[in-house]
Symmetry: C3
Subunit: 151 residues, 3 copies
């Protein structure tokens, strides 16, 4: 089967990849809004032109804003690679059951990661476990891509 | 029409996606150079091995350097997702007029965002509006991808 | 030749792109682990829920942790764009020799960049040169994509 034939609406793996990728995009983009809200609530603005009142000064160390920014950066480190690895993994024609399970693991794990990091702080190891689940699933997909490309 | 047939030089939407993606890549990469220039101009180096003179010390809080770095990070949060969402949206076979308009909105809005943030500081809401324009257009594309994948 | 025919296991350029992309993914993901290790070694935790002992306080300025984080952020700025530009460049049907050379330059340069930045600190211009090599090769590929899309 040609890889390009797998980029098809009839391919359940491709559709599942699209669905979870877009859910993770919405989740990641929601953190931009949450960071903005936190800046307004705590009056923490990083640029002079953003200050809403002449009494305010730029501020960089509000723990609530920084927490959301760390969660967002963690998304950049993990979700953005998944966008491309998930697509390339789809091209290797994986078993539908395995591929859909892996996409679900990444999707759910990254949503849980954001919830326990930036929305309601949950004691460790909640964040560590959710981070590892998505990390491991992404590495497994990347290994499959390398193996398919090499042999 | 098969999605893979849309990845074609005859498809104006695909070519428009390529053009604007590469313009945004050049724009984003230009911020790396601008950040480097700002570091030299203000003698703000983050690593001991970068110090040009034994009199200098590592410094992390120059407002000009940090401003360019914030603009660059905002690009990572918004342009990198567009690279993949724009490609997947192209695969949904959208109307050429709508798709080309959306790519132009993202491309122009992100260029304006960088100009008013990191080159010539313009009072708000210039940066907020340019940020929202690209954000909204990207979300619209992602919704179309989900809808096409789901039905 | 249709671009979608180039997404094929018979295309040496596509396989080379996949191989180096996944190597760079593993390299980038390794920095997450290295940053975590550095946090444990230096007891530098950014979140109250991560503190291993009630005597510890959150800390943001450990130079070893921050060095790894800067190397990681530099990867986000350079490797993530390569993931998509490398794929789009493959679609332009480049000469195999040139394309494979460019992928090797990006791959090796980014590995060297990480080694001299975050593993064993090597005096400049080691880091600057490795950064420029990958940066230049990526820009060359992007220019080829624009030229192919435009004409």
């Amino acid at each position: 089967m040609l890889p390009s034939e797998l980029i098809s609406w009839d391919n359940a793996v491709f559709r599942c990849y699209l669905g979870w990728s877009m859910i993770l995009l919405f989740k990641m983009f929601a953190l931009s809004i949450l960071a903005g809200l936190m800046r307004f609530i705590t009056s923490t603005f990083a640029n002079p032109e953003d200050l809403m009142s002449p009494k305010l000064k730029v501020k960089f160390d509000d723990p609530n804003v920084e927490r959301v920014r760390r969660a967002h950066r963690n998304d950049l480190e993990n979700i953005l690679p998944f966008f491309i690895i998930g697509l390339l993994y789809t091209l290797t024609n994986p078993s539908a059951f395995l591929a859909i399970t892996l996409f679900r693991v990444v999707g759910i794990a990254r949503i849980v990661h954001t919830l326990v990091y930036a929305v309601v702080v949950v004691p460790q190891p909640a964040r560590a476990l959710s981070w590892f689940a998505a990390y491991g699933a992404t590495i497994y997909m990347a290994v499959q891509v390398v193996v398919t490309a090499a042999f």
